[in-house]
Amino acid sequence: MRPTIKTLLIIPAYNEAENIERVVDELISDYPSYDYLIVNDGSRDGTAEICRKRGYRFLDLPINLGLAGAFQAGIKYAQRNAYDCAIQFDADGQHRPEYLDALVSAMSDNDIVIGSRFVTEAKPKSMRMLGNNIVSDMIRLTCGKRINDPTSGMRAYNASMIKELAFGPNLGPEPDTLAYLMRKRHARVAEVQVSMEERIAGTSYLDFTGSILYMLRMACSVLFIQFFR
């Protein structure tokens, strides 16, 4: 199915040598109407070499910037090439491309569309979802809108949001950016039900101390800092 607007899939990749070919090959063969851009975030496991050898389109960051920096690099590319829509798509295979069309069609009257695991499915009240629940409550408290899956990485941004995200230090693909864009830039946000796979290989971006710092940062940013950004 051909998307009606020019869409770019931004694929941040840090040490995803085991997953990247599987993920990108599927996009190339089954979803050729979507442009993609891998962003190699200074991987040390040969991810860049694989991309080069296979002829994938990718940005090769010379140093590691983290997810926010890598994603923003992709956003800059999207802005320079006048894309109407940019979608973050994980390199580890957790995001499923079957839902891309649904995301794109919801862009017609929204600025940001989140691929959410919990629109029609109930969110489990487990430890793993604790962070997700806390962030969701904080956003509802400060912005008045209930987002069921604020930590989902599968998000689509339209051209005006791309412009907002392209420059500046505090605009990573995180829930506090969502809150800021909703409050200060009047972004219209919608969620679309998706399902996601479990990670098959490699390690995630966040470890335990990373998770703690992440929650702290989210709390500070959503409950306090966003009011004077």
Binding site: E49, R52, G55, Y56, R57, P169, R217, R229
Partner: protein, 168 residues
């Protein structure tokens, strides 16, 4: 602790928060970096509103006056912060060095490719240009697998696999 000191501390805490907020608002400060200063101001605020905490700690540690404890405490905190800032600066220096070196290597690579094109437009792969191992390219790269939008000119100079397709 005197009332005057408490007021000074409260004003200091509020002032600190104000400067942090201004920094973030004007894009001069990242939220991660501001977290320390926000927590420090909250700490100062708590100590100034509840001076009993400082008094209790001072007694335990054997200080003559609570304010001495506050001095030492904040000196330790600043020392730690200073140490972490040094560490952070070292990392940044390293990153800048990496970037500079990479830019220089890429420039040489780019220049050598241009040269090889200028001298012989039909010759595609110049082995002498591939000094950096990470820029090794197989001669039969599959261009058809790249779903570019049809634009032949790829403006992104960092994506070497597609920029070489312009040469072919």
């Amino acid at each position: 602790m005197t009332i005057a000191l408490q007021i000074i501390l409260i004003v200091a805490a509020i002032g600190l928060v104000y400067f942090v907020a201004r920094g973030i608002r004007k894009f001069k400060m990242r939220i991660e970096d501001s977290l320390f200063w926000i927590f420090l101001s909250v700490l100062i605020l708590i100590l100034s509103i509840f001076p009993q905490i400082a008094t209790a700690c001072a007694d335990i540690a054997g200080f003559q006056a609570p304010v001495n404890f506050i001095f030492l405490f904040f000196i330790f905190v600043l020392l730690l912060k200073c140490f972490y800032t040094s560490r952070h600066t070292s990392q940044l220096e390293n990153k800048v060095k990496e970037l500079a070196q990479q830019v220089a290597l890429d420039r040489l690579d780019h220049y050598q490719r241009k040269e090889s094109l200028a001298t012989d437009p039909s010759h595609v792969d110049d082995p002498s240009a591939q000094t950096d191992q990470s820029h090794q390219q197989t001669a039969d790269e599959k261009r058809s697998e790249d779903p570019s939008t049809g634009e032949q000119q790829n403006s992104s100079a960092s994506s070497y696999s597609t920029s070489s397709s312009d040469c072919r």
